[in-house]
């Protein structure tokens, strides 16, 4: 299976994306902002279809739109966080816009499926480099803000009193989430971003009480799920995205089983 170029590309792309998704996802779950991540991916759909309509590569439309939406959520901050209805309305509107853009660009059916449900086997060398670049930017950004981000997530009032700008931290984090969402969409599609960003992180958060180990485990689980998903898809000829979602759900539900006999990690 590793003799094919497209398989090598798929493993490499999913490795890059899974590690970033696991790590960024851990903080997303920690902050209770998973729905925001979900919404950003839908906004990305409008961006991607719009970009194709304009003759720009879909990934840049995705990145552009998710980034703008992420920054917008960050600026609105408290006024929108927890406003599930507002986020939900924007989310539906984005898909609606995507449908409109598709209406004008009719010869697009296969690419729509790829956008919505991912097409990891179609990743080429150039996309691989783009993914690597975005991953480096995301992780470098996260490394810069991780300390105040953690403080602001766990104890916002105290962090504010100690001089942390909650708004700035939230803004920068949502920008990082937006980039991660755009990357994830390349592998599992905009509808299934949750599966790499939230599933592994939530499971990791239940299996260890230690911050560093939690982040590492989230990345490792995401990577394992992505690679195993591709391998299973290769052998069964079922869609990769199905296998990744199945593994992500399986691991998450396994993490809910209480492990009373296990020593606290």
């Amino acid at each position: 299976m590793l003799t094919y170029d497209f398989m090598l590309n798929a493993f490499a792309a999913s490795a890059i994306v899974a590690v970033v998704a696991g790590i960024v996802g851990y903080f997303l779950v920690l902050r209770g902002q998973t729905f925001a991540g979900h919404a950003l991916s839908h906004v990305g759909f409008a961006g991607a279809t719009g970009a194709v309509l304009l003759g720009i590569p879909a990934i840049w439309g995705l990145v552009g739109f998710t980034l703008i939406a992420g920054l917008g959520m960050g600026v609105l901050g408290e006024r929108i966080s927890g406003r599930d209805v507002a986020i939900g309305v924007v989310l539906s509107l984005s898909i609606g816009l995507g449908v409109l853009f598709l209406h004008f660009y009719t010869a697009y059916a296969t690419q729509v499926t790829a956008l919505l449900f991912g097409n990891v086997l179609g990743v080429n060398r150039q996309t691989l480099w783009t993914l690597l670049g975005l991953a480096i930017v995301s992780l470098a950004g996260l490394a810069l803000i991780a300390r105040p981000l953690l403080f602001a997530s766990l104890q916002p009032e105290l962090a504010e009193a100690k001089g942390v700008s909650l708004q700035l931290v939230s803004l920068l984090f949502l920008a990082i989430v937006a980039l991660t969402v755009a990357e994830c969409a390349q592998i599992v599609g905009v509808l299934l971003v949750f599966t790499l960003m939230v599933g592994p992180a939530a499971a990791a958060g239940r299996w260890t009480t230690h911050l560093g180990r939690g982040v590492a485990l989230a990345a490792a689980l995401a990577l394992a799920e992505a690679w195993a998903g591709i391998a299973l898809a290769y052998h069964t000829d079922w869609p990769t995205s199905f296998w990744i979602t199945a593994l992500s759900a399986g691991v998450y539900f396994a993490s809910l089983v209480p492990l009373r006999k296990m020593r606290p990690a």
Binding site: L144, L158, A161, V164, A202, T209, L211, G214
Partner: protein, 273 residues
């Protein structure tokens, strides 16, 4: 061991007015809290207990007047002020340990990666030992009881060796036994460390044993003094703006408006939040 001849006051308010969204919360308040005092901060919901603490922290600027904290104008990020915000249900579902939770506050304002240096780890362990939460901190925060959680939050507030500690409603949602434990612990620490404490609560009775003076807020006004001077019918009637009767039964105090026990009512109301 301080060089100045005169010990600085922990908190000084000079003619302070604070308005939130156009609504005056505190109106021309003057008061001084000595270093090393345990102050119980009381008053009905919306009387400005949290607002006062946020102003002392430098998070809210008074519309007029001056707030001085340990001799300096109030400012954000003053390491000499410890703060325990009101309890809230933390979002998210990760089983992060109490230790990591407490540790997030150590130099949490600096950019960069999390993780504590050896000196920071010693400081965190020291603060946890002070409140007797060393063993407790190994457990996930979300699986601790209300009383245990308050211990961890207290340890977090003690990081950086503050000389003034602001505790916002630490007794909310605790049963009477745990209320006594928390009050006793704070009093013990306050004496051992020689620091000033502002401890807000809905009810005076759990604090009776611990407090030096009481600061009662209401109707934009404030009354600071000994319990016997402040918790009286005339003073509270002025603060509440209606007829208040204070009844004493043994060493317990009941603040009544007609047939109604006001402090109890506040407490019940809050339990639903």
């Amino acid at each position: 061991m301080r060089a100045e001849g005169k010990e600085n006051k922990a908190v000084e308010l000079e003619d302070v007015t604070i308005a939130l969204g156009g609504r005056p919360i505190l109106n021309r308040i003057c008061l001084a809290i000595e270093s090393g005092e345990f102050i119980g901060v009381l008053g009905p919901n919306g009387s400005g207990k949290t607002t006062l603490m946020r102003a002392i922290l430098g998070l809210i600027a008074p519309s007029s007047g001056i707030i001085r904290v340990l001799g300096e104008p109030a400012r954000r990020g003053n390491p000499a002020v410890g703060y325990m915000p009101q309890h809230r249900h933390t979002a998210g579902s990760l089983r992060l340990s109490g230790w990591d939770f407490v540790a997030s506050a150590v130099n949490g304002h600096r950019w960069g990666l999390p993780g504590a240096s050896a000196a920071e780890r010693r400081e965190i362990d020291g603060a946890l030992d002070l409140v007797g939460a060393g063993a407790l901190a190994k457990r996930p925060l979300m699986e601790t009881s209300g009383g245990e959680r308050q211990r961890l939050l207290l340890a977090q507030a003690l990081l950086g060796r503050p000389r003034l500690l602001l505790l916002d409603e630490p007794l909310i949602s605790l049963d009477p036994h745990h209320q006594r434990t928390v009050v006793g612990l704070v009093r013990e620490l306050q004496k051992a460390l020689g620091i000033a404490v502002l401890f807000s609560a809905h009810e005076i009775n759990p604090l009776m044993e611990a407090l030096d003076r009481v600061l009662y807020l209401g109707g934009g006004q404030a009354a600071l003094g000994k319990v016997a001077e402040v918790i009286t019918g005339p003073v509270l009637s002025r603060l509440y703006g209606s007829e208040i009767e204070v009844m004493r039964m043994g060493n317990r105090i009941f603040v009544m408006s007609g047939e109604h026990d006001l402090e109890k009512a506040e407490h019940r109301h809050d339990a639903h939040l």
